[in-house]
């Protein structure tokens, strides 16, 4: 039987529909990683499982028991689910040891000595035994988050939920928290993790959920999602695609303005100057080729649209150029023109690849990759 089962989960905040019907189940020992853009509802989904947000519709079953049913003892169910927050949320008026021991002693009636013994063991495994009597305020973010994980583990949870556990951390401290989570993954603890750490997700997840538009947009093994994403938004997210768009409507267009815009686009996403120069070159050569090839000398009605999709994750760009006018394939072999006339296209052929050309209802469509 699934340890968590979710049917038709919906949640809105006012007019904003955050979750639009989610069906999902988690098996014991699975490690689910939820990814997605900001505002896609992945944190809300996690908070619904913990019932920190009350769903508008749908049922959630934890270990066979419906937690969305009325009159259910939610406090009891929460004891078997741990949650780790982005902002750690340690009890600031208590020492580390008290933070760890209060829940098992008060809720599970565990004797104080036993609880403290267990706490010391956990603290040793995360390397913080020396901080047992420190107050949270004196600890670094990474240390606090490791203690927050220990605090959840003190209750022997069946499921551990992580809500962006490293997002509030200094980059230098992310590693220590991920290390602890990797260790838990090896112990086959059931975990649901919302994170932006893609490499970590790839490494520990048994299943990846990609959230978009308030639903589970695509799911699969890390290989399926990261190496062969199927759907458009997944690809855009995984490859971290960036878009450049430019339109030309006259023969004497402002070349310098276009080049400058490409330059700014490149700087924004940290492209190398050599690669930027090639982007500019490809655009310039293609545009002049098309202006000369598609239009007569006195043609006023010019329309060229350039779209560049840059995939940050792999460092490659895809060009798509739409040109309204006479059919003209700039890369077709031609004997009439001299070598010198066609020098632009020669350069283009040298730097880019995967050329495509088609002509449909008066529009030339040219595609290539750089």
């Amino acid at each position: 039987m699934s340890i968590i089962e979710i049917r038709g989960l919906r949640k809105s905040f006012g007019d904003l529909q955050v979750l639009k019907g989610i069906d999902f189940s988690v098996e014991e020992g699975e490690r689910i990683v939820i990814i997605g853009g900001s505002g896609c509802g992945k944190s809300v989904f996690l908070r619904c499982i913990e019932l920190l947000e009350v769903p508008d519709a749908g049922n959630i079953f934890v270990d066979g028991q419906e937690i969305t049913a009325p009159n259910v003892n939610i406090d009891k169910i929460r004891q078997s689910m741990g949650m780790v927050y982005q902002r750690f949320n340690l009890f600031s008026h208590m020492t580390v040891m008290e933070n760890l021991c209060i829940a098992p002693t008060k809720l599970l009636k565990m004797p104080q000595d036993e609880a403290e013994k267990k706490a010391m063991e956990l603290l040793s495994t995360v390397g913080l035994a020396a901080k047992a009597d420190a107050y949270p305020a004196v600890l670094s973010g990474g240390q606090q988050q490791r203690i927050a994980i220990c605090r959840s583990l003190m209750m022997n949870p069946k499921v551990l939920l992580f809500d962006e556990p490293t997002s509030a951390l200094d980059p230098t401290m992310v590693g220590e928290v991920l290390a602890v989570m990797r260790m838990l993954a090896k112990r086959n603890l059931t975990m649901i993790i919302v994170t932006h750490e893609m490499n970590f997700a790839k490494e520990v997840a048994s299943k990846i959920l990609f959230f978009a538009d308030g639903v589970i947009y695509e799911q699969g093994t890390p290989e399926e999602i990261f190496d062969n994403p199927k759907r458009e938004k997944t690809i855009a997210f995984i490859q971290r695609q960036k878009f450049f768009h430019y339109e030309i409507f006259e023969r004497r267009f402002d070349l310098m303005e276009m080049q400058n815009k490409i330059q700014l686009f490149a700087e924004k996403y940290g492209l190398k100057s050599k690669y930027t120069y090639r982007l500019q070159l490809c655009c310039e050569e293609t545009i002049y080729e098309m202006i000369n090839g598609c239009y007569d000398e006195d043609e006023k009605n010019i329309s060229i649209i350039i779209d560049i999709t840059y995939a940050e994750a792999i460092g490659k760009s895809e060009f798509k150029i739409l040109c309204k006018g006479k059919p003209h394939n700039p890369l077709a072999e031609s004997d009439e023109e001299s070598f010198e006339d066609n020098i632009g296209m020669t350069i283009l052929r040298n730097v880019a690849g995967d050329f495509e050309y088609s002509y449909e209802s008066g529009v030339n469509v040219i595609g290539f990759k750089l």
Binding site: E50, L52, D75, K76, R78, Q79, M81, G82, M83, Y85, R87, F88, N89, L90, F91, S92, H93, M94, T95, M97, E98, I102, A103, K106, L107, Q112, D113, E114, A115, E116, K117, A119, M120, A132, D133, Y135, A148, R151, S152, M155, L161
Partner: protein, 500 residues
Amino acid sequence: MKKFLTLIILTAILFSGCGIESRQITSVEDLKHARIGCWPECGYEFAARKVLPDAQYVYLDFVSDLVQNLKQNKIDAFVIAESYVENLKLEGVDVDYLPENLGDVPTSYIFAKNEKGQQLCAQMNEFLKQCEADGTLTALDQKWIHSDETQRTFTKSKLSGENGTLKVGTDAASSPFVYLRGTEPVGFEVELFDKFCATYGYDYEIKVELFETMLVDMASGKLDAALDAIEIMPEREQSMLFANPTYIQKTVAVINSDAITGKSFLDETKDRIAATIIIEDRWKMFFSGIFSTLTITFSSMIFGTLLGFAVYMLYREKIKPVNKIINTVIQTLQGLPTMVLLLFFYYIVFGSVDVPAIFVAVVVFSILLSVSVFVMLKSGAESISKGQTEAALSLGFSERRAFVKFILPQVIRIFFPSYRLALNTLLLETAIVGYIAVQDLTRIADLIRARTYDAFLPIIIISIIYLLLSWLLKKFADNVAIHFDPKTRRREDILKGVKL
């Protein structure tokens, strides 16, 4: 220490103010355009205005205030009954008065304007007629008005009270007609009333309160009668039921005396200290005042804190209509002056219920403190991250336990300084309860002032007492605060089972 030094300097300045030269007044003519002190809207002012219509009248509530203002030349004279001045002179107050009678003013008792009051009034009139006939009035006149304190013996008669107990009010500031000897009201009217009760089979209880409070208590039926040598005036007769006159007062203008007392400053100061503290065991009055003030403060502290906490816990249940009511009530309470609230509760809420005034004071101050406590808890809890509550919930604590175990201890630590301030404010604000007939420290100072005609010493004594009380309260709160600071706990208390 600095505070006390400032006080001493202040005292010295006030004392030195007594010696300013005044202009000479020898006849009523000299008072034509003078500043004349009097009780607000009293019969003596009424009489004086007929003779001196162009004078400027200054209202002061107590004889002691009139004397004080005269001595500091803030007024040129004050008008009052001759019998009062004679009494002042007997008590060694250094004043004189012009021999002219500005007008006769009859004084008497007033009774409640209801059936019982009418009956009592009729009995009193009958009794007065009888007293006049058998010379009782003349004897009392001789004893209280023309003798000094040593001959004015009075002990309350053993009264059967077969026809019930009368509730009687007085402001006890009309020596020699009604005044306090120690804490016991005595005087011409008291003894006469005592004899009246003995004749007609009543017992009586005297409640000492402010004049205005007494009049309202009469109107609301909390009192059966008021004895205060009240001047019978036509406009008063419309709203009050007067008995026949017990005494016909002569209105006189009191001026500064030229006489030199011949006492040294040191002797005079000694006398004043004796009058304020030692004579008639007045120090006991100060202690009873401290007791009242502390009773109100500490009872309100306990009930107010509990009430504020209870209301906040109710507020956390998030029941919409209930919270709306709570918010409205809190806003209303915050928008009213304490004084107004006190009067509202005394005259309206508890108007028709016979409860001790000190109880009303405790109720009002408890409510006021509970408002502060509520606001502190609310804003304190908001300032603690919501995340800690969620963390506690996800560990499996219930909403209420999460609040009590994790949020409340932090809130208390944050709000303690403002709580301490609220307690201090509470202690100081209790000074207004005199208006509803509670004899707290401030009111005691008023009463003693009314007897000794010396404003400085009682005020300075209570100032010092208030400073001391507020200092003690601060120390007490500081001691409590330590228990709420986790950083002050010992290491052994935190780690019980583990040996590092």
